[in-house]
């Protein structure tokens, strides 16, 4: 019932300032994208107190390789996701 899954989170853009490589998180199976984002923020803030002063996590979205995940999307297995801050390509 309380099974956990291990998620790998790819960092992009400004998130690279706070973490090198992928971030590993253990979360309950079925956690929502919103919960995953909170867990990312909590983890990054632990190692980088400055992170808490930014509103980066609120402006960012979680995605897999095919789409951006709505906040209420449920993640039910160990996968690699990506945290995407505001974009500025071109």
């Amino acid at each position: 019932m309380n099974d956990t899954m291990t998620l790998s989170i790819r960092m992009f853009g400004a998130f690279r300032k706070y973490h090198q490589g992928e971030l590993t998180l253990d979360l309950p199976v079925g956690s929502t994208a919103s919960t995953v984002k909170s867990a990312i923020a909590a983890t990054l803030q632990q190692s980088n107190p400055a992170f808490g002063n930014s509103d980066l996590i609120e402006k960012s979205v979680l995605a897999d390789n095919h789409r951006i995940l709505p906040d209420d999307a449920k993640i039910s297995s160990a996968v690699t996701l990506a945290i995407l801050p505001p974009v500025c390509g071109g």
């Binding site: 853009g13 995407l84 974009v87 390509g89 071109g90």
Partner: protein
Amino acid sequence: MSGRNHMAVSSTPLSTEAAIHFVADDAHGAADMFVGTVRNHNLGKPVKGVSYDVFDELTLQTFNELASEARQKWGDNLNIFIEHYKGRLDIGGISIIIAVSSPHRDESFKACRFIIEEIKHRSPIWKQEHYLDGDSEWVQGHALCSHGPVSYDDEPAHAHCNH
């Protein structure tokens, strides 16, 4: 007969010649090409280079979606070339090339403009500026939106999307 697509994220220098060559078409009388380059200043600060970070898989998917949307708006026969650079560029380096060809010029201009505007809002690409004074900073951008594609014709849509 649907037009051709070339879409890539590249870490080798982008070629305008390749773009024009790709979209050239005996049935088309017009091509428009947009070239983005690294400028020596931004917001008043002297810049010496830029590093582009790209989430390749999703970026290529947005390029494909934009090509489909452009064909729905301006014709199935458009040929479309989109390449974005990934990695570090010096001043003058080419960060993006978009080329579109069509039988008549109006469609090429509009589709090319549409694609660059949408890429800036929808493609997961980030830019880190390297300043002459040694500092580096990730440039503030547009928050992505999980509410589905937004429309360039309907500009306030971007603003509605608050994360």
